[in-house]
């Protein structure tokens, strides 16, 4: 089952409190996505920890149905 950008956005935003996600389908093929995620929960965490928080939402779907999810994370300014 191919996820949509909209579904990825919704799942990130519902899993991480206060998160705002902008997700685009990188290739139009439904398997390479780029997401920019802004969340207060990222404060005080290293980039790798911030990315882990987002990847945890999808678990083994990354590398599976979601071939690649490119990420940029930021703390709300």
């Amino acid at each position: 089952m191919m996820p949509s950008s909209e579904e990825i956005k919704r799942r990130i935003e519902s899993a991480i409190p206060g998160a705002e996600a902008h997700v685009e389908d990188y290739t139009g093929g439904g398997d390479h996505f780029r997401a920019t995620v802004t969340a207060p929960a990222f404060a005080g965490r290293s980039r790798i920890e911030q990315h882990r928080l987002v990847y945890e939402v999808f678990g083994s779907e990354i590398g599976g149905p979601i071939h690649a999810l490119s990420l940029k994370t930021q703390v709300p300014g």
């Binding site: 990188y26 390479h32 790798i48 590398g63 490119s70 940029k72």
Partner: protein, 130 residues
């Protein structure tokens, strides 16, 4: 559950190489656009690094790095024994100069230009054959 022997080997490699890249393919012939981007960043910083091609043992290595670093996609760049990140984090840290700092090298003068040259063209996706 990851293979214990392989896990130990990977841990030894991470400990023995101050800068170690797990990638798909080799620095000379990367087999994935994301791996290629990290190679280009490291080359532009003129830093010495070890590179391991994960493709011959992709799934076992994925299980090992998931246990070691809670990270299951490749490429993965380890610096001084710690996972720094995959292609996104490496590029972001390169652009900001943090990567040069973490590696103890000089940031090249034309860093932003080099970064965009390192991911040509920025908007095109990695090649895929499916």
């Amino acid at each position: 559950m990851a293979d214990a022997e392989l896990k130990q080997k990977v841990e030894e490699l991470i400990a023995a190489n101050p800068v170690l890249l797990f990638m798909k393919g080799t620095p000379e012939m990367p087999r994935c656009g994301f791996s290629m981007r990290v190679v280009q960043v490291l080359d532009s910083l003129d830093v010495e690094y070890g590179a391991i091609d994960v493709l011959p043992a992709l799934q076992p290595l994925r299980e090992v790095t998931t246990e070691i670093s809670d990270w299951q996609t490749f490429p993965q760049l380890y610096v001084k024994g710690e996972l720094l990140g995959g292609a996104d984090i490496v590029e972001e840290m390169f652009d900001s100069g943090e990567l040069a700092e973490a590696l103890g090298v000089e940031q090249p003068e034309a860093a932003p230009a080099a970064a965009s040259a390192a991911a040509p063209p920025a908007q095109s996706p990695p090649l895929q054959i499916e």
